[in-house]
Amino acid sequence: MSSSLLAISNLSVSFGGVEALTNVSIDVPKNSVVGLIGPNGAGKTTVLNCISGLVKSGSGTFAFEGVKREFPKPHELVDLGITRTLQGVGLFNELSVLQNVMVGADKNYKPNFMKELFGLSGKVEAGLKERAEEALAWTGATGLIGSKPSELSYPDSKRVALARALVINPKLLLLDEPAAGLGQDDIDALAALIKQIKRRCSILIVEHHVDFVRDISDSVSVLNFGKLIAAGNFDEVKRNPAVIEAYLGHTDNPDENSKLGI
């Protein structure tokens, strides 16, 4: 059993009295891919939002690399070595592809305002650029460097968004529905890429495509109505009656089991 990188326990969140998450615990071991699945509205993205500080957690504990701390604020994530992609793409339309990725690398270089004011930051700038180019090459987006995000196809813009998340060499990558809206070829390419990325960092992935999750995940956690109903390796989880019911509403129609890829 490898040691834990991210451990969330008993996370609860409510939005104006409605409980979005109730006592959810998730553990992401080092060097592994954890899939977070569940029906629409189960609270999967809310989990990512809590980890990345976009939603304030009601209660629960957060430990990263064995160190307990408050849930981080969004701008503190990069310092911890955590990056994420958003549902949709979230690129800056007015900036070039390269600049989009450079924004992701910015913090790593601690831009110094006074230095920059006097034009002493040429080296920093060059370093930033180099790392951004590396990340783009990694996600197969080298050819897109000079383009504007508005000129990119949807799969290409996802590559750029992924490069932006990888540019600081994160320890943990949070992916929010990376396969959504992609065709099968692009999903296969993404799966191959994620298997490569996995050698360098852990990944917590929220996803609807069950086949894709089975392909890339070491373990999965299943949410339904804000509660964790199962966790473990995919083949165990898919036989869990609670999971089947969550996906299908009932358990005894074998024809519909295909939805879960069973």
């Binding site: 701008h75 503190e76 994420r84 007015e94 924004v103 910015d106 913090k107």
Partner: protein, 303 residues
């Protein structure tokens, strides 16, 4: 000298100042989503500070520098002391509505304008006074022919040009400038990239403070300084920003120069009393032909 050249040179010098005002407005609009009605109040106040220093026998240039620094400080102070607490979510039920969250800072900026004018009244008795220029406002002569441009005009154009070059370098070549553009475009993603969007926004207010402070220093040798002199400049600057495209820094500068020429040519070829009608007509025409502004993006800011 032909009337055309007279109008052209004076339009360039005036336009340079409008470009600064417009740039200041767009900086705050883009980084904070606020139309800052206090902007020229801030400029008025820092110009009074410079004027006071000069009266106390400081040199023009040290007063100039201190005014710019106070401009930055005042801009940052407005954001840190007022805008940030006003828009922070914890504060009140009222802020739960998005429209209130965008309206309140604008109204607050009107309040700041009032406070600054009142303070100028208290400290400097609200008196109208002249403000010196570092260059004599005489027409430049080549041989016996005097040109339609004064040394002061050249000083204004040169200073603004330098400012625009520095601003362009800042926004296109530095990581901090990139961070500012990114924050304006998508604060959430920027935050996730490890950038403190709040601090970046404060920096936007500070730079806007410098730009408007500079505009105050450059316009008052011609208009004199009183608590109300710069109000007109805000209106023209705002028109320039709308014409150029509220979301575009380059557009705001372009709009400033265009307004400078419109005003100056109407002044020369028509009559000074027609200037305001001309500004209004031009604004309506521009909004009719290109509502998003000359360089503005089609995307409407969600309010």
């Amino acid at each position: 000298m032909t009337p055309f050249l007279t109008a052209f040179f004076s339009g360039t010098a005036q336009g340079a100042i409008y470009a600064l005002v417009s740039l200041g407005l767009v900086l705050v609009w883009r980084s904070a989503g606020v139309v800052n009605f206090a902007q020229m109040g801030q400029a008025m106040f820092t110009t009074y500070i410079a004027s006071q220093l000069i009266q106390n026998n400081y040199s023009y240039w040290s007063a100039f520098l201190i005014a710019l620094i106070s401009g930055a400080a005042l801009g940052a102070l407005v954001d840190l002391g007022l805008m940030r607490p006003l828009t922070s979510r914890k504060n009140s039920q009222l802020l739960n509505s998005q429209s209130m969250r965008t309206t309140i800072p604008v109204i607050a900026s009107l309040g700041i304008l009032g406070v600054l004018k009142a303070l100028a009244g208290i400290f400097w008795a609200g008196e109208e006074r002249g403000f010196p220029s570092p260059v004599a406002p005489n027409a430049i002569k080549i041989g016996d022919t005097s040109l339609a441009i004064t040394g002061f005009d050249l000083f204004v154009i040169g200073t603004v040009f330098l400012t625009l070059v520095l601003t362009t370098i800042f926004f296109t070549k530095t990581g901090m400038g990139l961070a500012m553009r990114a924050s304006a475009l998508n604060p959430e993603v920027t935050r996730l990239s490890g950038i403190k969007v709040g601090s970046v926004r404060t920096l936007g207010w500070a730079i806007s403070g410098i730009a408007s402070s500079l505009a105050g220093l450059l316009v008052t040798p011609r208009t004199n300084l009183s608590p109300n002199t710069l109000d007109l400049l805000l209106i023209i600057g705002f028109t320039a920003a709308v014409v150029g495209g509220l979301s575009s820094l380059a557009g705001s500068v372009l709009g400033g120069f265009i307004l400078g020429y419109v005003i100056s040519f109407v002044n020369v070829y028509s009559a000074p009393e027609n200037v305001f009608i001309a500004i209004l007509a031009f604004l309506l025409l521009a909004l009719f032909l290109r509502p998003q502004g000359i360089l503005g993006s089609k995307e409407v800011r969600s309010v």
